[in-house]
Every structure is written in C-alpha cells, then in structure tokens.
Point group: C2
Chain length 340, copies 2
C-alpha cells in the first residue's frame, strides 16, 4: 500500500489541498477560496482544517509522509519564513512554516509556487523522464523553476528561476521590478492584454477593439480566441509573446544546456499561437539549440525523446506542460516524499 | 607529502603544462608554442613529452593523480572526443583523450577551457570560499563556466556556460553564431576594437584615431589606455562593455541566484573602466541583485564576504578573477584530484 502526502497550492484566489499517493495517484482534491482579506491566520486555519480532514480520511491507506505547500512569493527554505508575497498581503516576513507545523503537529515544507509547478511537471508531467529541467510559468506574471539532478535548484536565497525578469528588450516596457523590457512584459497574461489595448489605442486593431468593447473582462483568452480565428493583430501579439520566450529560452539553453524546458501556466494554452515563433527565434539565436534540436520540435511532446540518445547526441526538448493548473499541487505533495 | 597532478592549458597560440600539488602549489610550469600548423599529432607529442618530463621530475614528491587538459572547444565529457574547436583546426570530432591516454599510459581528463578557468578560480582564486559560482571569461570571444556544489556543471552535452552568446541587444550586431546582439559582440577584446574602429569611422573619436594610426596592432589594451587617460570616446566604449556584462549578469543572478560571479580573461584587466556600469545596470535591472547586493560591491574582492551571513542574508558578489591567465591551468590540474 503506497504512502501518501498532502500538497497545497496556496494562490491569491484559490486555496487547493490534495492527498496524493507515492505513485502520483490523486486520492482527493479540495478547492477553497483563499480568504485573503480575513488575514493570514484565517487562511492558515482553513488550510489546516482541510489538511487534517484529508489526513484522517486516508489514514488507513498508508503513512502520511508530510505536507508540502506552494506559496506565491520568496521563501526562505532554511527557516520556513515567507519573505515576500505580493499576492498575499500581510504574509511577508512571517514564520508561516512554524505557524502551520504548530497547528498540525506534523512536518511541513514550504516552497515557491513556480518551483512547485516545475517539480510537479518533473514528477508526473512533461519532464517525468529527465533529471534536469526548467519550467516557465506564464500567468498574471511570468515565473520559473529549475530542477537539477531531480531536486529543485533554489540558489543561495531561494530566488533562482526568476525567468520573468530576464531582460529581452534593454530599452523596452517598464516593469514593476524597476527594469525595462523584462520577459514578463511580453509573455504574461497581463502583457497580452496590455499589448492588445495598445494596438486598439493605435487604431490598428478593429477585431480586438470589437472584442474589448463587448467584453467587460477583456482577457488574454479573448485575444487568443481572435488569434485562432485568424485576426492578424491578435496573431502579431502572440508572435511577440513567442519572441520574448524564444530569447529567454535561448538564454537558458546557452546557460544550462538542459534536456528539457517546459512552458506552463494559463497563457500556455495559447501554445499553438506563440510556439512557432519560439522555435524560429531559437534556431536563429541559439547555436547550442540548433546543434541539439530534434527534427520535429513541435512534435516532441514528452521527455521520452530526450532520453533516446546518450552523450552529446541528446536533444533539447521544449514543450508545453501536461498537468495544467495541478502541476503545483502535485509538486507540493512530492516535496515531503523526497525531502526526508 | 602532498600528491600532485598535471594541468594543461591548450590554447591556439600557447601550450602550457604545469605540475601542481594537491594544496595548489605550483611545482613547475612549462610554456611552449602550440604548433597548430604541424597538425594534431605533433601538438599532442609536444604536450606528452612535457607531461612525461614533469611527471618523472616530481615522481618522488608524491603520487601523480592524473592529467587534466583544458581545450578551447566543445568536449564530449563521456567519450573524451573534441567535438568542435575553431581555434584548433583539424581537431574536431577526434578522440583526443584516447590518443593522449595511449601515449601516456595514464588517465587523462579533457575539459572546456572556460570551464577549467572557472574551476581554477573556484579552487584557488576569487571563488575559493563558495561551492557555487559562475565565471565569465572575456578574451577574443566571451566564454563562461558554472560550478555547482563544487563540480563543473556541463549540461547534457557539455555546452553549458555559453554566456558569450546570450542576447543583450535583440536587433544588435550580427555575431558569428548567426544571432544578433550576443554579449560577445560588446564585451570581448574583438568587440572593443570593433567599437573603437566604428567610432573612428564616424569621425567622433580623435584620440582613438591617433592611437589607431600610430599602432599597427591597435588592440583593446590601447583603447583601455586611452580610457584611463580620460578619453571620452574610449570611456564610452567600456561603458558599453559594462552594460552588456550587466545585462548578462542580471540574467545569471535571476536564473541561478549564486553567491559569486567572477569576471576574468584578458579584457578583465580593464575592470576599473567597465565595472561601475556593471553595478549600475545590475541595481536598476535586477531585483534579486538589489535585494542581495553588498553595501560596497566594488570593495567585495573575494568570496570571504559571501560566507558571512547564512540563509537569505547571503550576498551576491560580483568580482574580478584573481588567477589571471593561470586560472585554466590550475583548474585543469584540479580535475584529476576531484574526479577519481
């Protein structure tokens, strides 16, 4: 009988808790709203109640190995402090791990949410057959995570994998971080909507203008819908997404020479619209990629092909994530299974 | 009595062979010309003769642990093949390790020369007190190496650390690799001379024009000499060097969050001229750097300060290399000491 662990994906909107066994089977998933405005203690109480419920319910299925929690922000892995979390006001510089462990009486591991997602895709998703991988998560912002030798690479202060703030246009769009031309300004859902509104304001995009007028919550998804219907302005926006991601991926390939890079997060559902530009950019910008590209990069959907040839014959696979919004939940559940 | 190893730095111009003991003491260094035009076999014979000479001479000082050889090119670490080496015509796709091992009858380790230099700085140079570091080598081109957990990070095909081909200007100068705006086009010795000749051609740089006319071998060193004398055009060129390096370093800090980045190679002797711009770029472009910068980045000359504070208090140190042109030689000698 396989043991199991609890994974938590603590988002600014949703709080999701799952019991997952060692073989990666989902036993049960609970989705709650994150009651951010009621304060940290309330959210932690909601979380602990669900964790206790799942732990008790599956108690006779195996040993509970622990709880892993993906948090949107910078985590001090050693101390279990949340250092910074823009989406969770009031959580910065607080001893979140200690607070939860005290309530639960069991071991808890905190992790950055993008790192958890990378770890989930490595365990059960697109990168399940490789030991080394990186993942870009395209959501409201752009996050990332690196797994080396099967373990999350944190860097010295848990800040590794900030791919969203790699400069892709040195004099480009101002970013909230203070830099200009961060990848996040071209490849996040927020950026897709901004670029669409810019095109509308320039009077260049009648299709986008109509969509924006008819839709109070004009979103990246709406821009994508127009792109797949052939709207040239919408398609151009996703080519800009692909160009930014191509530059970031070329940098990662040149720096780390990994067998696999996974693109996930909400915006990755527009993969068909932006991925051809990614591969164009990579082929023209990255010698290492050109030397190691599979014959059919868009067909290389899983890590299997990265294993085929040993040594220098190994290929660079760039592919979309497979676990959707559950990647972080699975990755969080995996943490206590490998950190014992 | 400490054991020793032989390190070789096989350059396109010079072939240097050294005996180094386990404590990092140089026993003896031999410098030969690399007789590239006489063919690979001739160069390997010269090298093996010097290795045998040093091995025999220091035989009663300790056990010879092996020979490490830094080669300018892409090495298949598993097979010991040189895959590509623009500076060593006729060496590509040849079983160099097997050829040398056969001649010597002892174990040989091949390594990329920029990786060897990084490994040397990690062992005895600027990064001696940290386990994780990256090094940029600014020479004719721009190379790089990454050391993680005290070991060289090769990537899946030995191509990791190609920092010279990170894009810093998406529509910039065409590079030999096919990309536009590679760091190498702004931060190598070749780039410094090109930027100087461009400024001369534009009629903007009387000081540089005089220097170029009076010097048949107008070099990056000549541009640096003008910069330290206050020539505004020469200074501007080194600010461009610093800007390109700042963008690359911001990317590495965002990606890997290492405690130390070392800048070496011939152009690094112009550190005073370009490093202030590096730190300006880093502060404005890189949140992770801003959060982890030491109070006096230019004063942080060694790895010691990177160790002071544990956990998230650790600082990002960016500093110049300490071993000069011997970094690769020491790094190569270190290889057989740690790969047993």
């Amino acid at each position: 009988m396989p043991n199991f662990a609890i994974g938590v994906d603590l988002g600014g909107t949703n709080l999701r808790i799952a019991a997952v066994d060692e073989q990666g089977c989902l036993l049960e998933k609970v989705t709650l709203g994150t009651r951010v405005t009621l304060g940290r203690e309330r959210v932690i109480s909601d979380m602990c109640e669900a964790i206790r419920h799942l732990s008790a319910k599956y108690h006779d299925r195996g040993t509970l190995l622990g709880t892993g929690i993906g948090v949107p922000g910078i985590i001090d892995i050693q101390t279990g402090m949340v250092r910074e979390s823009p989406n969770l006001p009031g959580w910065s510089d607080s001893p979140v791990r200690a607070e939860i462990e005290k309530k639960l009486g069991t071991r808890v591991i905190l992790e950055n949410d993008a790192n958890s997602a990378a770890f989930g895709e490595k365990w059960l998703g697109a990168a399940r057959d490789v030991a080394d991988m990186a993942m870009l998560t395209l959501g409201t912002g752009v996050g990332g995570g690196i797994v080396l030798g099967g373990r999350i690479w944190h860097g010295m202060n848990g800040m590794a994998g900030e791919f969203g703030h790699i400069t892709v246009e040195p004099e480009g769009q101002l970013c909230g971080c203070g830099n200009r031309g961060c990848a996040e300004q071209y490849a996040s859902a927020t950026a897709v909507v901004r670029m669409a509104r810019e095109a509308i304001a320039n009077g260049e995009a009648p299709g986008l203008a109509r969509a924006a007028n008819s839709d109070a919550e004009f979103s990246a998804k709406a821009v994508y819908n127009l792109a797949i219907q052939g709207d040239e302005e919408a398609r151009r926006i996703f080519r800009r997404v692909g160009r930014a991601l191509g530059i970031v991926l070329a940098t990662l390939v040149n720096t780390l020479n990994l067998p696999m890079y996974v693109v996930g997060g909400g915006v990755s559902s527009a993969w068909e619209a932006f991925s051809p530009t990614i591969f164009e950019e990579l082929r023209s910008r990255c010698m290492v990629y050109a030397a190691t590209a599979p014959a059919d990069p868009l067909g290389a959907e899983t890590g299997a092909s990265a294993k085929v040839e040993p040594g220098t014959g190994r290929k660079t696979i760039i592919t979309r994530a497979l676990l959707g919004s559950d990647a972080g939940l699975y990755g969080a559940a995996r943490l206590p299974m490998v950190n014992s």
